[in-house]
Amino acid sequence: MGVSHVLLGVLADGPAHGYDLKRAHDERFPATKAMPYGQVYSALQRLQRDHLVEIVETVQEGGPERTVYALTDAGRTELASWLEATEPAGPYAADELVRKTVTALWRGTDAADYLQRQRTVHLGRMRELLALQASVSDTTARIAVDHTIFHLDADLRWLEAAAARVADAHQVTHRGEAKA
């Protein structure tokens, strides 16, 4: 559901059409592959089917017809619960973690609280893996566990850097407000 939730996050700022959504997605995730139009529209269809978004307008200004989508109340609730829930600290959590954190930061959600809770989840998983590592005597198995532990460590460092950047950005904003 990751990409769909990012679209919900963009729509939380106000109604938009497919092209706006694609552009907003690509701006927010410059390090990932640009989102194909086909994926935007199939995601929107699914979201509409699930009553998370609705069509509010169909405009035609000379060019092709453009459909404007808006978030429904159910969509707003879904977005909020996605942002609220921590991600499993599994090997494939990283992408969803990045999507969620970036979306939360754009929404101005209390990211510090989320980051702290996610840290607890990751650290808990790391604790389990360290116990597992201590219980095996086979060196190759230990090395394999190391790989996952180091990835969790990288996630944790990234979460920490994200929290520090959020704090820094707040300070800059407040300094700016104080000057103005």
Binding site: L123, D146, L156, R157, E160
Partner: protein, 220 residues
């Protein structure tokens, strides 16, 4: 949680205009292994030093076994630290004029132990940390990681009830750090000792029963 050993309430400490701790309250149970983590400058080391009675907070209170640390006289606090606390600071902090074995024996000699018995206990601790071959080396001859192992041996030689460690594996690589931590935590468990360690290494924090995460001088 087990019986409460440390209780801090509203602890504040500033260095000049920089507030290192801005109202920290916590409890630590006897025998617990606690990691204090957080970004640089978040107040981790200051909190550790305050709990160990090495610095006095400007406001708030810290109780150890129900008695307020700041109410105790300097002599009483020193005695408490020598007998019940073992401290491993960053970079080892060994006395440069003494050999590794003399450094480890020092806390025992300060408590008027017999010199030969102190040396025997010191060598036992060095062996535990795989540092017996370093016994006669001077701190200047040790690598950072070796100095940390000697400092850990010194912290444990009196069989303390509480072990305070500031970045105990900071100068060691992954495997070396793992060995030191395993020995340190194993020794603590054998003595039912409490461990309070400052770390910015997530893998060290994950070894603790509980993490206290500081941000800007408060618990996040």
């Amino acid at each position: 949680m087990s019986e409460i050993q440390f209780e801090a309430r509203g602890v504040r400490k500033a260095y000049g205009r920089t507030e290192a701790l801005r109202g920290v309250s916590l409890t630590i149970g006897a025998g617990e292994v606690v990691a204090i983590s957080g970004p640089s400058g978040s107040g981790k080391s200051t909190l550790l030093l305050a709990l160990a009675g090495l610095i006095r907070p400007e406001a708030g209170e810290i109780a150890y076994d129900g008695a307020r640390l700041d109410d105790l006289g300097e002599a009483h606090r020193t005695r408490l630290r020598r007998r019940q606390f073992g401290v491993v600071l960053q970079f080892g902090q060994l006395v440069p004029e003494l050999t590794a074995a003399q450094n480890v024996a020092l806390p025992l000699l300060l408590e008027r132990h017999d010199r030969a018995a102190a040396r025997r206990l010191a060598l036992g601790q060095l062996e535990r940390f795989g540092a017996l071959d370093l016994a006669d080396a001077l701190p200047g001859e040790l690598s950072g990681g070796e100095a940390q192992r000697v400092a850990a041996a010194r912290a444990l030689v009196t069989g303390p009830r509480v072990i305070f460690a500031d970045e105990p594996t900071g100068a060691l690589d992954t495997v070396g750090g793992e060995h030191l931590l395993k020995t340190l935590l194993g020794a603590a468990r054998d003595n039912d000792a409490t461990v309070v360690m400052v770390t910015h290494d997530n893998r060290v924090a994950a070894r603790a029963d509980r993490e206290i995460f500081l941000r800007d001088g408060v618990i996040a």
